[in-house]
């Protein structure tokens, strides 16, 4: 696991994350964007397709300076935009740790519950049985 020394104080922490997180060159507020999924990833196993389109409501992204560092530290970069920006990250050494810049809840419906949310809830239900 990559260990970046995150400071304890609230203001120092904000400065720390301001370096990791950068404003998107093009804000994705209430827009859909295509995302390529990495083969063999948790994200790919959920969607079962190599490319997806999801609704964003976000203006920030992981700084490209840190993407490779995160990957070498054990964080899988499992979803990218067409221009190569990181959109989904996950941890392999964890029962279920999946984070994304888009909001799957925005496209969930009663008739079509979102597969990411269903997988998360299934994993939580399994966890409750342990």
């Amino acid at each position: 696991m990559l260990r970046l020394a995150a400071p304890e104080g609230r203001y120092e922490l904000k400065s720390f994350f301001d370096r990791l997180i950068t404003p998107l060159s093009c804000s994705l507020v209430v827009e859909s964007q295509d995302i390529r999924l990495a083969a063999g990833s948790l994200a790919h196993s959920i969607y079962t397709t190599p490319a997806i389109s999801e609704k964003f409501n976000c203006s920030y992204s992981l700084s490209s300076r840190y993407g490779e560092l995160f990957a070498t530290g054990g964080m899988g970069l499992s979803g990218h935009s067409e221009d190569g920006e990181v959109r989904i990250v996950e941890l392999a050494d964890h029962p279920f740790f999946l984070a994304m810049l888009f909001q799957p809840q925005l496209s969930s419906t009663k008739e079509h519950p979102h597969p990411v949310i269903c997988r998360f809830l299934t994993q939580a239900r399994n966890q409750a049985l342990i």
Binding site: R10, L13, F17, A99, Q103, P104, Q105, L121, R125, Q127
Partner: protein, 94 residues
Amino acid sequence: MCASKVAIGVIGDFDETRPAHLATNRALDHGSAALFTEFEIVWLPTKELETEDGLESFQHFSGLWGAPGNHASSLGMIRAIQVARQRHIPYLGT
């Protein structure tokens, strides 16, 4: 069907004027119905997660969901995600 409710903690300061927060609750209902499972949904204000005492409640949760938006405490949000990672609690970040 589970005999008791499965507890999900939603890390974030719920704001009923934010469509994404309302969508989070609705999506949890959709998933609950699809899985034939009752989930207990508890929103967790981020300021309360800055301390060890605030994070103690996490033993109760079988899953943690990081809600979208700007929250009152980035520190609380980060600490909560750290606990999810270290204690191997299923985590979904949106």
